[in-house]
């Protein structure tokens, strides 16, 4: 019989949406394992965060000034402490920016195996079977973890609704580890997304990926966007290459968008990108590689050369 511990990512804006997805997944796993769901909420103050976590059986509250705002080192220590004191079989962490810091750090500190990029989790006997997206989503790995383990879960892989429901959880206080008093990391400042464009609010988006070739070709996408009345978005490589500003990035480290129309141009569809746009109502993908993972989430796709298709489409839309 094993418990499932969920690391609840949070910030000054509250509990991160991923936490509910994890709680939902945890409920099913706990059922399979015959254990309970415990939610670790570690922050400067947890009173306002805990009530949202009713889907858990037990809410573990850990408070310390070093835990807010988020500091990787502090949260690794917090999760490590929780794992040591509660000894869960399964630890779930979101595969988010914070998750990357926290899950591996805690797994290493507790000598537990870690399975990353999970999109599916199931119990098989005593073991946890996980499906993970690897190689940019081109392959799916199935792993079997017999003993205790840490799993990082891709956002969007589990519905959040299950984790938001639930009754009244028991609450327990966990003492913050002493190491939080002598950290080597300091929070300096936070910045909101750079102003101007907010692609999160656009109801139509034309997003470009590496397939666009170079900044000189962005014009093609811009013209299409103009013809559609859409904003221009981009995948991470395009932003990292400096072709478009960060504010236009869709995906894990950029914006999560839910427009009515999402046109993905030259985007192969790395999991980090899909995470940010799979909720769009209508997804159209243009990519010359028929095996590109973007076609997994798109509703309609074309393998036409984007340099042929975009001008043709733009012209047609302008005419209509």
């Amino acid at each position: 019989m094993g418990n499932v511990l969920v690391y609840v990512e949070n910030s000054e804006t509250g509990v991160a949406p991923i936490a509910f997805e994890l709680l939902g997944a945890a409920r099913r796993l706990a059922a399979g394992l015959g254990g309970e769901v415990e939610a670790l909420v570690a922050a400067g103050a947890t009173a306002e965060l805990a009530p949202a976590l009713g889907a858990a059986d037990v809410i573990l509250r850990m408070e310390h000034p070093a835990l807010s705002p988020y500091l990787p080192e502090a949260h690794v220590a917090a999760l490590t402490e929780a794992i040591r004191s509660r000894d869960p079989q399964v630890v779930l962490v979101g595969n988010t920016s914070a998750g990357i810091d926290v899950a591996a750090g805690a797994a290493a500190a507790t000598q537990r195996p870690l399975v990353a990029y999970c999109t599916g989790l199931a119990v098989d006997g005593e073991a946890v079977v996980a499906h993970s997206q690897v190689y940019g989503g081109k392959l799916v790995a199935t792993t079997r973890t017999e003993g205790p383990g840490v799993f990082t879960v891709v956002a969007g892989a589990f519905p959040g609704a299950e984790g938001q429901s639930g009754g009244k959880a028991a609450e327990a206080t966990l003492a913050a580890p002493a190491t939080l008093g002598s950290l080597h990391t300091r929070f300096i400042a936070a910045t909101a997304p750079s102003g101007g464009i907010d692609i999160g609010r656009a109801d139509r988006l034309v997003s470009v990926g590496r397939g666009i070739g170079g900044p000189e070709n962005l014009e093609l996408a811009q013209e299409l966007a103009a013809a559609l009345g859409a904003e221009l978005g981009a995948s991470r490589p395009v932003v990292d290459s400096g072709w478009l500003p960060k504010a236009r990035q869709v995906g894990k480290s950029g914006m999560t968008v839910k427009p009515k129309l999402y046109v993905a141009v030259g985007i192969s569809g790395a999991p980090e990108h899909l995470e940010g746009m799979r909720e769009a109502e209508l997804i159209l993908a243009v990519n010359s590689d028929a095996n590109a993972p973007i076609f997994e989430v798109a509703h309609f796709g074309s393998t036409c050369d984007l340099f042929d298709l975009l001008p043709a489409l733009t012209e047609r839309l302008q005419a209509s």
Binding site: T145, T191, A312
Partner: protein, 256 residues
């Protein structure tokens, strides 16, 4: 300032990936390896720090097929030293075992800062940077898009979802998982690469003891199930454009 950049190769995702006969690993016969793009950014960040304020840059990798060229390319890019760590196998190690294998050599190297890619396409068992930090007992921050030296610490920009950023200060020594350098990795001219190769300046070290905790057992590696996914629009670009237009009209998504 001494910066160690830990790099590795990952399968080139441009190629079709095939699963081996056992169904649990990659068919490496056809795999084309390339430098992990995040490691590429980590190296660029290190070279930028060197250019900005002077630093010694050592690039470190586990031995493996084709790694010499990767290390020489790093030297051609501006690394001062290149260290190849022999873990007793040419097979790629998972990130956790790799961290254990590299930790000793890195400790011997004695850098103030370790930069490595935030993730890699084959990080099934988690990311290298936090494991390495745990091995070394150093603080760690990942998903970093900018590193600046601030006295005996570094200031880093950590990225979160939604484009939010935080500036954190980390005491040295530290391990940073780099998401992106402030500028795209620079091109390595082949002539410079050849010069570096001709110099033959690779150092070697033996991996530290302790295999570390491995990952869970992989029972299957497979291509994602087909069947779901997009309805493909076929025809000439004009025909496809026509179909898309009809689709948008039908959904009321045409402009105006």
């Amino acid at each position: 300032m001494h910066i160690a950049v830990v790099v590795k190769q990952v399968p080139d995702l441009v190629e079709e990936l095939e699963v081996d006969a056992a169904g649990t690993g990659l068919d490496r016969a056809w795999v084309k390896m390339k430098l992990n793009e995040f490691d590429d950014h980590a190296l660029e960040q290190a070279v930028l720090l060197k250019e900005a304020g002077g630093a010694q840059v050592s690039v470190v990798a586990l031995d493996g097929e084709g790694i010499d060229q990767v290390l020489y390319a790093a030297v051609a890019r501006g690394a001062d030293r290149a260290l190849k760590v022999d873990a007793g196998t040419q097979e790629p190690l998972d990130s956790r075992r790799a961290a254990t294998a590299l930790a000793g050599a890195i400790r011997d190297l004695g850098p103030d800062l370790v930069l490595t890619g935030v993730q890699a396409a084959d990080d099934l068992f988690g990311q290298m940077a936090p494991f390495l930090a745990a091995e070394l007992g150093w603080p760690h921050v990942s998903v970093v898009s900018q590193v600046e030296v601030a006295g005996a610490a570094v200031r880093v920009q950590q990225e979160y979802a939604g484009g939010r950023m935080a500036t954190l200060e980390v005491d040295l020594p530290a391990v940073i998982g780099v998401q992106a350098a402030p500028q795209p990795p620079r091109y390595v001219p082949v002539s410079r690469l050849r010069q570096a190769m001709a110099s033959g300046a690779l150092e070697t070290a033996t991996a530290g003891a302790g295999a570390g905790t491995g990952g869970a057992a992989v029972t299957q590696l497979a291509k994602p199930e087909a069947g779901r996914g997009a309805e493909m629009l076929t025809g000439s670009p004009d025909q496809v454009a026509e179909k898309i237009e009809a689709l948008l009209r039908e959904r009321g998504l045409l402009r105006g």
